[in-house]
């Protein structure tokens, strides 16, 4: 009973955080536009601001409604058709029965690592993606546990917040990068205020991704434990997940290069190897599961 309430609280929290995140990104983008307009061409202040506001709004709407597609495309995953991946489909179908969730779209990522992630703005628009390595190396119970973990993220609306962070962070990083680069090539004026604004601009451009990176790091640590717990709730069997995590730990597939750092926290284990700061250590998670 207690856990059930916690779960619902988490959904509300995730939704609230998503709104807050979208609002902050909007503010940051408009602020960036403001700084740019002051630093470079005060004459076009209003036009630049209007463009900045329109751009931020469409940016947020587009990333909200397409976050899962962007995430899927960014790891170059392809659709898993039912005829080719029968067990994968049938395991997910069983788990949707156990969790009462609609069946998500299923994808395959072409990687030798054992990994998986979920994405989407709500359970009706959710996707699950697993690596070829996971399908090859995990047995039925282990794969089921990993899929249950991902469904746990979907049920708690983790993936809405996490995907939004991943997609928006990735973009903020790119935008600030462009901003910095354009500073390099612009001819410097002597105007004092111009220099000040340029400094602010640079500071913002450096700070923006760092700030959101901190947000990004703070998201997945606790969430992984909660998703592990819901995986056990769905399968009623911690053994599968324990063995899966152990296999992931002992797996020596090379760190992923195709994956953008921005989407790393979406995965069940960090695709950049054990040193990542985006996930709690596998040992800790196994320990918690063994106590269940």
């Amino acid at each position: 009973m207690k856990k059930r309430i916690d779960f619902r609280d988490q959904i509300t929290r995730n939704k609230r955080r998503s709104v807050f995140l979208m609002f902050s990104v909007f503010v940051i983008l408009v602020l960036l536009g403001y700084v740019i307009s002051l630093a470079f061409s005060p004459a076009y202040f209003f036009i630049i601001m209007i463009v900045a506001i329109l751009f931020s709004m469409s940016y947020i709407l587009i990333s909200y409604y397409n976050s899962h597609r962007i995430a899927i495309a960014s790891v170059k995953a392809t659709k898993a058709y039912k005829d080719d991946y029968k067990q994968y489909h049938s395991l997910v179908e069983g788990l949707t029965l156990a969790s009462g969730l609609p069946k998500p779209e299923l994808y395959i990522m072409h990687s030798k690592q054992i990994n998986a992630f979920a994405s989407g703005r709500d359970p009706q628009h959710a996707v699950i993606c697993v690596t070829e390595g996971a399908l090859e190396k995990l047995d039925k119970n282990e794969l089921e546990a990993v899929l249950a973990h991902e469904l746990g993220h979907i049920a708690s609306y983790d993936m809405r917040y996490m995907t939004l962070v991943a997609v928006m962070v990735g973009m903020v990083a790119i935008i600030s990068q462009i901003f910095l680069r354009s500073l390099w090539f612009s001819s410097g004026g002597n105007d004092k205020s111009k220099i000040i604004f340029m400094i602010i601009g640079i500071a913002l451009a450096i700070l923006a991704p760092i700030v959101v990176y901190i947000v990004q790091m703070s998201i997945s640590r606790k969430r992984e434990f909660v998703a592990d717990a819901s995986a056990v709730k769905f399968t009623r069997y911690p053994g599968g997940l324990i063995r899966a995590l152990k296999k992931i730990k002992e797996d020596h597939a090379p760190p992923e290069k195709k994956v953008s750092k921005a989407v790393a926290p979406l995965f069940i284990s960090n695709p950049f190897g054990a040193m990542g700061k985006t996930h709690p250590s596998l040992d800790k998670r196994i320990q918690v599961l063994e106590r269940m």
Binding site: M1, R4, K86, Q87, S90, E93, G94, L95, L97, A98, S99, G100, D139, N141, F234, R236, Y237, G239
Partner: protein, 184 residues
């Protein structure tokens, strides 16, 4: 005077919202139970529908296992005729054990074991068994959520008011609950 009037209005509106909210909660959770019950039936039906194909593919190979085959067809008939989910689940148990016998016997027929059609059916039947277990689990989870709402405060007040009663769990026998853990 006016202030008191407004306060009363606000309180009344709030109360209406709470009443409606609890009513909807009962309806939603009740629907979830009905829906999960329907899911169990869907999976049981799928399972029963697979059986004739299985018999068809097995018949040619297992000529001397008439009794075992008959047991499966009989169990299927019972399942098809069973009324109420408790009875159906019970019948499914019978079918499950009859199928186990068939699959065990199949080990002795290398030709049958190489038959892709048979393997496919075997896989499918095992998968539906898992799904039935999950559907039943969700059914009981839904009942738990519903009963918790009925029994705890303040839900218990509304439950009495709306005439909502606790629902009964689907009983599972102990031997069934254990998940078989196959290690290679």
């Amino acid at each position: 005077m006016l202030l008191v009037f407004w306060i009363l209005i606000i309180v009344a509106v709030l109360l209406i919202f709470i009443f409606l909210g609890y009513y909807n909660k009962f309806v939603l959770l009740g629907n979830r139970i009905d829906n999960s019950l329907a899911q169990i039936n869907v999976q049981l039906k799928r399972r029963a529908d697979l059986i004739p194909n299985l018999i068809e593919s097995v018949k040619g190979y297992m000529k001397h296992e008439k009794a075992a085959i008959k047991e499966v067809t009989d169990a299927r008939k019972v399942l098809m005729g069973a009324k109420g989910v408790e009875k159906k689940v019970e019948a499914n148990k019978q079918l499950e054990s009859a199928l186990k016998t068939i699959f065990a016997l199949a080990e002795g027929y290398p030709d049958l074991k190489a038959n892709t059609n048979f393997l496919e059916l075997q896989r499918e039947l095992t998968a539906t068994e898992d799904k039935i277990a999950y559907a039943r689990q969700f059914y009981n989870d839904s009942i738990l959520a519903y009963n918790n709402l009925c029994k705890t405060f303040p839900g218990v007040i509304f439950a009495n008011m709306y005439g909502k009663k606790e629902r009964k769990y689907l009983q599972i026998t102990e031997s069934e609950k254990k998940k078989v853990d196959v290690k290679f």
